[in-house]
């Protein structure tokens, strides 16, 4: 590959996940002989949106440098989903209170994580894992008292389509653009990327290092809560295992999307490529009638292939 093309590609780490998603989509379309190819994509986008919402938070954590990760996402999603839907109790009148309480769960979880990490100096990986268990347990306790349906307005919002495109996907694509601009152009974005590259250099450059970390974990928890509320609404109610997939998926979409696991660099656009890819792979293997065992193998191989291509000539020196 010529060095010009390589440099162009290296500046666009998100391109691999989009390329892979496109290939998988075309293969799927070929297998089903073109039937419902746009519908497949729309469904994939719908589910991808939930991955992207938590992925944005996880991306900020990972970009903040080695050791930073948010493993409380599933617990926060589940508890926020239960609290929000429980307060709505099937009525649009309960919507504001439900949303506020659900997002409130996110804020409390974020503050709790920050206290564990900064106050008690617990490594983020352990601290957030522990707080995730706490919120999951609270969801279990709360779930025995409620089996409420979500507010109808929220259900229609979460499942609405605009010209065939899921509405929440559009909303969060706009949000992703805002995040991408923010990473480059906002003081917070710069601080996160600076801290992720070199903590000592960031401190000596006069950046508010502690506040930056605190905001990262707060943001991640709030986004997890929002994802939990929307997913619960879309699925017709909260469920105890609704966050289970999201622990590893939130990390997978970040890394597949081109964000450096070493920190200091983030690729928000790639979240969409990666999330769509992971969803389309499942669809493709389903229409191919592949067994569950093979499905995991193929999913794993696709992830490896995308990462291998993206990292290809990073270390040519």
């Amino acid at each position: 590959m010529s060095s010009g093309i390589r440099a162009w590609l290296d500046a666009r780490p998100w391109i691999w996940s989009f390329g892979a998603a496109l290939i998988v989509w075309l293969v799927t379309t070929f297998v089903v002989q073109g039937r419902g190819m746009l519908a497949t994509l729309a469904v994939a986008l719908q589910f991808a949106t939930f991955y992207v919402i938590v992925g944005i938070g996880q991306m900020f954590a990972i970009a903040a440098g080695p050791g930073n990760i948010d493993l409380s996402i599933p617990g926060v999603m589940t508890f926020a989903g239960y609290i929000a839907i429980g307060l709505m109790n099937g009525s649009n009148y309960g919507l504001p209170a439900g949303l506020a309480a659900g997002i409130g769960v996110g804020i409390v979880a974020g503050v709790f994580n920050v206290l564990l990490i900064q106050g008690l100096r617990i490594p983020p990986m352990i601290g957030t894992l522990a707080s995730g268990f706490v919120f999951q347990s609270m969801a279990i306790a709360y779930s025995s008292t409620t089996n409420a349906p979500p507010a109808p307005l929220l259900v229609s919002f979460s499942a609405a389509r605009l010209l065939g495109v899921p509405l929440i996907a559009l909303v969060f694509i706009i949000f992703t653009v805002f995040v991408a601009v923010g990473l480059r152009r906002s003081m917070f974005g710069r601080a996160v990327l600076a801290v992720g590259q070199s903590l000592r250099a960031a401190r000596l450059a006069g950046l508010a290092v502690r506040r930056t970390f605190a905001l990262v974990y707060l943001l991640s928890a709030i986004l997890a809560a929002i994802a939990g509320i929307l997913l619960a609404a879309y699925s017709g109610g909260a469920a105890l295992d609704m966050g289970a997939d999201y622990l590893l998926m939130s990390i997978a979409v970040v890394v597949l999307g081109g964000t450096s696991i070493a920190g200091g660099q983030a690729s928000p656009a790639g979240l969409w490529g990666a999330a769509t890819l992971l969803d389309l792979v499942v669809t493709m293997l389903n229409v191919m009638r592949v067994g569950a065992g093979v499905r995991y193998v193929v999913t794993g191989l696709i992830i490896i292939a995308v990462l291998a291509l993206a990292k290809g000539s990073d270390e040519t020196a």
């Binding site: 923010g182 003081m187 990327l193 590259q197 006069g206 200091g264």
Partner: protein, 492 residues
């Protein structure tokens, strides 16, 4: 040069290397004989480091021939191959694993140190080398290297290059080894190169400190713009000749002689009175105060304390005003390696460039461009990655960052180590100009000659100040005396 003096161990001929559009080396010839010390001098970006990386096998040349011990080795030449041939390199950028101890780092370097008891043998190997080169070094070889101050890390790196297991050492490349060593350690190392030469080891020595070179090297090669522009025996050359060959240095006008400056009344930094010493740090607006002494005797701790105390009503140290910090350890606490020159310049000034938390890109670019021009940072444009710059230019960017921050107090943590003379002189002028405008400087340096830029100098020994010297009374003898605890204000 006479050719009969010793057999040529390494002969480089017609070496060329380009990085994109930049031609780093344009046909370099260099001969290194066993048991001789060759010195390569030149300004930052002259191609010295690139040439050394090629010699050490870390970079492949685009053209040219490398002959080691009489054999051509261009094909498949690598660090491993060079090491097997006995070529060792102490790079300017420290290459130790920070999480490993000195002994473990030695093991990484020597695959032969395997099997049971390797720990003990590695410890002995590095311990002996350290004792031979830097007697009385005081380094704990069990501590992770990352916890050692930069001067000690440099000692470990240097000592490791001289350790031997399966392959004998034939040539050691010392790229700017004395830049982060204090005067004593640098002298020890230079003395040791004599012993190594007596064992028929060749040494390549790169330094910006010309007296060191003229005093110790056998031959000197002068590089400019990727070419060797002159060479000769060290004892036949003078400093003035070298400087002339290195290229035109912009003449410097030191009309704002330090000491003559109007120092303001406003106190920026003040240490509370202490019972054990009459000397305490005080820094006024517009003052340039030097921190001298051997490396790691408390100078950096003072800078850190000032940095931490800024903006806090601290009990131990009163700091009045905003601070900016420039570290000489650019790789671990200076640059943001993934960013452009521009973003690296503006990071400490973002607040002033932002509205509602969002930056104005045009104003940011203008600020970075302004400082690029003012400090003459060599880069085609401010959007280039910072890592594409030479070491000295990266260091300039860090200085620009501190100036751009418009802080009341600038803390210099030996920021000009490894920077060439021309660049240093330019930066000295900027320091004087900023001081003129009221900025206060606390300046730790391992190079005593740099202290002439200071209005006052505090000399450190074992964490306390042993002497305070006004600019007019500054002498090398007095600094060295106080560096060993013999300050005139201390009752012995």
């Amino acid at each position: 040069m006479t050719d009969e003096a010793g057999e040529a161990f390494v002969r480089l001929s017609g070496i060329c290397k380009s990085f994109g559009a930049i031609r780093a080396l344009a046909g370099v010839d260099l001969t290194i004989r066993s048991g001789r010390m060759v010195s390569v001098v030149g300004h930052n970006g002259a191609g010295k480091s690139t040439l050394m990386q090629i010699l050490a096998g870390a970079l492949a040349p685009d053209a040219g021939e490398i002959r080691v011990a009489g054999h051509a080795v261009v094909h498949g030449y690598s660090v491993r191959r060079a090491s097997a041939l006995g070529i060792r390199c102490v790079f300017q950028e420290l290459s130790l694993c920070p999480n490993l101890s000195a002994a473990e780092n030695t093991r990484v370097f020597h695959p032969a140190l395997a099997g049971p008891g390797w720990r003990r043998r590695a410890r002995q190997l590095i311990g002996n080398a350290l004792h031979a080169i830097f007697p009385g070094h005081g380094i704990d070889v069990h501590r992770p290297v990352g916890e050692l101050p930069i001067g000690q890390r440099q000692m470990v790196e240097t000592a490791r290059a001289f350790t031997e297991t399966d392959h004998p050492v034939r040539l050691v490349i010392l790229d700017e080894p004395t830049a982060s060593l204090d005067a004593t350690a640098a002298e020890q190392l230079l003395r040791y190169t004599g012993e190594a030469r007596a064992r028929d080891v060749a040494v390549v020595f790169i330094s910006h400190r010309l007296p060191e070179i003229l005093g110790h090297a056998d031959e000197v090669f002068v590089m400019r713009d990727g070419q060797v522009v002159g060479s000769g025996a060290a004892d036949a050359l003078t400093e003035a000749q070298l400087v002339e060959m290195m290229g035109v240095v912009r003449s410097v006008d030191l009309t704002h002689a330090p000491g003559s400056r109007g120092v303001r009344e406003q106190i920026r930094v003040e240490q509370p009175a202490r019972a054990d010493t009459p000397l305490r740090v005080q820094l006024r607006a517009g003052e340039v105060v030097g921190l001298a002494g051997l490396a790691d005797h408390g100078q950096r701790e003072l800078l850190q304390a000032v940095f931490d105390a800024a903006g806090h009503p601290a009990t131990t140290l009163r700091v009045n005003g905003s601070v900016a910090y420039v570290s000489g350890d650019r790789r671990t606490e200076g640059i943001f390696p993934l960013w452009s020159v521009g973003h690296n310049t503006t990071i400490s000034r973002l607040r002033a460039l932002a509205r509602l938390g969002f930056l104005n890109p045009a104003r940011e670019a203008a600020l970075a461009e302004d400082w690029r021009t003012r400090l003459a940072i060599h880069t085609p444009n401010i959007d280039r990655p910072i890592t594409s710059l030479s070491g000295g230019n990266q260091q300039k960017v860090l200085v620009a960052r501190a100036f751009a921050a418009e802080a009341d107090i600038i803390l210099f943590d030996d920021p000009l180590r490894g920077v060439d003379i021309a660049t240093k002189r330019e930066l000295y002028q900027h320091v004087h100009r900023a001081a003129e405008a009221g900025c206060a400087f606390l300046w730790y340096t391992t190079e005593n000659t740099e202290l002439v830029n200071c209005d006052r100098v505090y000399v450190f020994y074992r964490g306390t100040i042993t002497d305070e010297i006004a600019h007019a009374d500054l002498t090398e003898d007095r600094i060295i005396g106080a560096s060993f605890g013999a300050g005139h204000n201390v009752a012995v």
